[in-house]
């Protein structure tokens, strides 16, 4: 068997990108981490742990930083969350662990859990230690996992720790899904995502890249494995359905982000308009600023109260100089071969509460690049073809329906988790889904084949 090249060494970082996307939250050094760790009260049944979808035992890993047991600290993190390093950087901790910190309730700064977690994980990587888990004796069971995003990775880790074979299929050449390609580089660099996933391969996970799974391929996979985990995420970003959308210079937020992260492009033109006001839109708008745009607008059909971006993301964008236009709707894109402007109309609320275009308010916003970020479509419809008539994977508005505790779909052999089941949440939610499903699959296989 030929020596495989570690994932994070299969890519080259573009220095001009790295320079412009340095850490939003710089790492702690030891002298800063230990006093911060000591500030933690060590709550019992800690709210931060409960708030974390993967239930990392936060006070425990923090106290281990304080005591100088850094390997133990990383182990505590990884035991609950196999992507603990990525989550330390990518999680919106303001609404998770740090948001739940009891310090908020007595006029004190919450413990900087994310930075402490990153400190523990960085120390772990720097130590060169291997993943601190044993894999159990092989059970002979085998599970296929579709998609190499956080949900599948977490599921695979649980399976391997229980001695169940895990084969992951992904259409891309490298693993991680949105964890690798979709998180703003100043939060989670692509290389860090790959470094963390590289560790998983130590558990003996088999990766099959550049492999698109359609209904036919899925049926084949099902035949060869004892169970299938669907971690297929969401599909393409919606289109506006207006004139001019095919012009050069119209792209979407995920392509823009994946493009600069993988070094395919390192600059954007001067005037950029982002359509949509979710967290991905913010990431795209800030990326545009950092990639050289001089004027970046976010246009949104409703007001700041309704936008789906977190308040701290909104603040961040404003601090980076992104301008927001509220209550406007794109009605056309103008240009010859490439984009010249986005045509907009103002919206006004009706008495019934909906928003309608206001006649005569049409205006034009000059743009060299238009970035659509108005939500991702689902791409799970092919799943309803899979399985016997009585036990099909069921969908609801494109989402795969599961038992939240076990991840099991209506077809007992199929499990699912992550964005394809939850409508598009965070990396940590996908990890939690995958983890529950991994445990769920193991329990189901054990129950199914248990000698009676």
């Amino acid at each position: 068997m030929s020596e495989r090249i570690p994932f994070h060494q299969q890519i080259t970082t573009r220095p001009e990108v790295a320079k412009r996307f340095d850490d939003l939250h710089p790492p702690f050094d030891r002298q800063a981490a230990v006093p911060e760790a000591n500030r933690c009260l060590y709550c019992f049944d800690a709210p931060c742990t409960t708030a974390c979808p993967t239930h990392i035992d936060v006070p425990r890993f923090i106290k281990k930083i304080a005591s100088g047991n850094l390997a133990g600290s990383a182990r505590t993190i990884l035991d609950a969350n196999i992507l603990g390093g990525s989550c330390a950087r990518a999680c919106p901790v303001e609404v998770l662990c740090e948001g739940a910190c009891v310090m908020h309730r007595y006029n004190k700064q919450p413990i900087q859990i994310a930075r402490l977690q990153r400190f523990a994980m960085d120390s772990f990587y720097q130590s060169g230690a291997s993943l601190p888990f044993e894999t159990a004796a092989e059970t002979g069971f085998s599970v296929a996992l579709v998609g190499a995003g956080p949900a599948s990775l977490a599921c695979a880790a649980e399976l391997r720790r229980r001695g169940i074979r895990a084969g992951i299929y992904d259409a891309r050449p490298l693993p991680g899904g949105l964890n690798t390609y979709g998180v703003a580089e100043y939060k989670l660099p692509l290389v860090e995502s790959l470094r963390e996933i590289e560790m998983l391969s130590q558990l003996g996970v088999n990766f099959h890249f550049d492999t698109m799974i359609d209904a036919t391929a899925l049926a084949e996979i099902e035949q060869k494995h004892d169970a299938v985990f669907l971690g297929i995420g969401l599909g393409a970003i919606h289109r506006l359905g207006i004139a001019g959308e095919d012009l050069v210079g119209v792209t979407n937020a995920l392509d823009l982000i994946a493009g600069y992260k993988s070094g395919e492009h390192t600059a954007v033109p001067a005037r950029v308009v982002v359509v949509g006001a979710g967290n991905t839109a913010i990431d795209a708008a800030i990326a545009a600023v950092r990639l050289g745009a001089t004027e970046v607008h976010i246009v949104y059909r409703r007001g700041p109260e309704q936008m789906s971006a977190f308040p701290f993301e909104y603040e961040h964008a404003r601090n980076e100089g992104v301008k927001f236009l509220w209550y406007v709707q794109p009605i056309g894109i103008r240009g010859d071969r490439s984009v010249r402007s986005l045509e907009l109309t103002k919206l006004v609320p009706t008495e019934a509460g909906s928003l309608v275009p206001e006649a005569g308010t049409e205006f034009s916003l000059e743009a060299d690049l238009i970035v659509l970020s108005i939500g991702q479509a689902t791409h799970a419809s092919f799943l309803s073809e899979v399985g016997s008539a009585g036990a099909k994977v069921q969908l609801e508005r494109g989402r795969v329906l599961i038992d939240r505790v076990t991840g099991q779909t209506f077809n007992p052999k199929f499990f699912a988790g992550g964005d394809c089941t939850n409508g598009g949440r965070e990396v940590v939610d996908a990890v939690a889904d995958g983890k529950r499903a991994g445990i769920g699959i193991a329990a189901w296989l054990e129950g199914k084949y248990a000698k009676t």
Binding site: V34, F44, P47, V95, R425, E426, A432
Partner: protein, 473 residues
């Protein structure tokens, strides 16, 4: 009537002092230049770094204990007495006294245990102009191996004899500095008093090894790979010092004017030592940590507190707390308090809960949202329930109407005290990070005062307890 403006001026065993704050005999009082700067900063007196037998010091000399990020909670040294020639020290004493006649310079002395040697040193120190003498019977390291320092302080007969020799010669007050490295501080204190001491100072440093390097396996401070036990001081020793101060001042055969030493770093510490009977206080570690400038708040804070309490002078509150320290058998067995958790202040950390279950009496419960009080739910059950909970990141678009907020502590996180079983131990109140969130409140049980002493005198002690008493007695 306007309150009198308080003063820090005081008299200690006949020595008039600008204030009760002295620098203890230690590195901060190594030379005249230092001491004059200290006086400029506001220190009322200084006990000169011990003068005596010639010595050579080692390097390194100090080590310390940090606690949760704070430096030097406890401090340890293996430095010996002054390594400067006696003549130089005495010349500088004369110079300091010439320039600072109102400030107090005490000569700390330690020489070999010969009458003539002591007489000679006493004479020279007093000739130099020292306002008083402190006999170093406490240094626990190095000097004790040569029959000096704590080797004297640990043998009451030596303590008494040398004090007597000094008193034969001394014209200024003689202060005997006691070592805490004994079983009962009152024994050497009584010996010093019998020897004629005018005053005592306590405590000197406590024998210690502050730590072992987990890579080299060497104790610290390391001297070429080896170490030796040192003398422990700093904030960590204050409770030990306070206890010894109280023991001395509550013992008629020991009690003398007392200069309190041990972990004093603030006016609060000083006030506590004075409340237990000290006339002056001596400071070392805090000055070594932060410099002489700490004296400003020590004076300022103590004066403000005195004004608030209506004390005009140090003597107004000196020893005020002594009657409040009793033997355990004299405490009121019928006094009853219980913990009350004030829900409006509780932040939901549940430290009181885990402390009560694991470290106390299992009478704090997490059952406020249960249909009925549930004292059977254990910490493990609470944790197991939490582990089963499914949490997700709240996404505004997907979770409309569930705005993220964390300003109010959820009721299920606020522990409840089972007052019927609370023994009033204080543990929950001690671990609670929020001021006034848990208060210990008296339960009026209508039962009159009764101490163990009284109860046993009446023969009301249960037979089992009587046995325990005799086996322990």
């Amino acid at each position: 009537m306007p309150k009198p403006k308080p003063t820090l001026e005081t008299t200690f065993c006949g020595i008039p002092c600008l204030n009760p704050f002295w620098l203890a005999s230690a590195p901060p009082t190594n030379c005249g230049e230092q001491i004059m700067r200290a006086f400029d900063s506001g220190w009322g007196g200084a006990v000169w770094k011990t003068i005596g037998a010639p010595i050579t010091n080692v390097s390194s000399r100090y080590s310390s204990i940090d606690w949760e990020g704070r430096r030097m909670m406890g401090f340890n040294n293996i430095e010996l007495i002054s390594d400067r020639p006696t003549e130089v020290n005495l010349q500088e004493i004369a110079e300091v006294k010439r320039r600072y006649p109102k400030h107090i310079v005490i000569a700390s002395l330690m020489v070999e245990s010969k009458r003539e040697t002591w007489h000679d040193m006493v004479q020279r120190a007093e000739d130099a102009g020292a306002d008083g003498l402190e006999l170093n019977f406490g240094c626990p390291h190095g000097m004790s191996e040569r029959g000096m320092g704590s080797a004297v302080g640990q043998v009451p007969e030596y303590c008494e004899q040398i004090t007597g020799w000094v008193k034969e010669k001394a014209r200024t007050p003689v202060i005997v500095k006691l070592t805490p490295n004994i079983s009962d501080i009152r024994i050497p204190a009584r010996a010093a008093r019998r020897g004629g001491a005018d005053a005592l100072s306590a405590i000197n440093t406590i024998n210690s090894i502050t730590g072992i390097d987990l890579d080299t396996f060497e104790p610290n401070p390391s001297v070429d790979g080896k170490s030796s036990h040192g003398g422990y001081c700093g904030p960590a020793v204050k409770p030990i010092a306070l206890n010894m101060v109280q023991q001395i001042q509550s013992d008629p055969a020991s009690a003398l004017p007392l200069s309190g030493i041990g972990g004093i770093g603030s006016w609060r510490d000083a006030a506590e030592f004075i409340l237990l009977g000290c006339g002056t206080v001596q400071v070392c570690t805090a000055a070594m940590h932060y410099g002489y400038r700490i004296i400003e708040d020590m004076q300022d804070g103590l004066l403000a507190w005195m004004a608030e309490k209506n004390f005009a002078s140090i003597d107004d509150f000196r020893g005020l707390s002594l009657p409040n320290v009793r033997e355990w058998k004299q405490l009121n067995l019928n006094y009853q308090i219980v913990a009350r958790i004030h829900e409006n202040l509780c932040i939901g950390c549940q430290l009181c809960y885990t402390a009560c279950w694991d470290g106390a009496h299992q009478c704090i419960h997490l059952d406020r949202t249960a249909p009925a009080p549930d004292t059977t739910r254990t910490p493990s059950m609470v944790e197991a329930e939490a582990a089963r909970r499914i949490s997700t990141t709240p996404i505004p678009k997907l979770d409309a109407g569930t705005a993220f907020t964390n300003t109010v502590t959820p009721l299920d996180r606020i522990p409840r005290v089972d007052e019927d079983h609370c023994v009033g131990c204080n543990l929950c109140y001690l671990v609670c990070p929020v001021e006034n969130c848990i208060t210990m409140e008296r339960v009026n049980n209508g039962v009159p005062f009764e101490s163990w002493e009284e109860r046993t005198a009446k023969g009301l002690v249960p037979p089992g307890a009587q046995e325990v008493m005799s086996t322990n007695g």
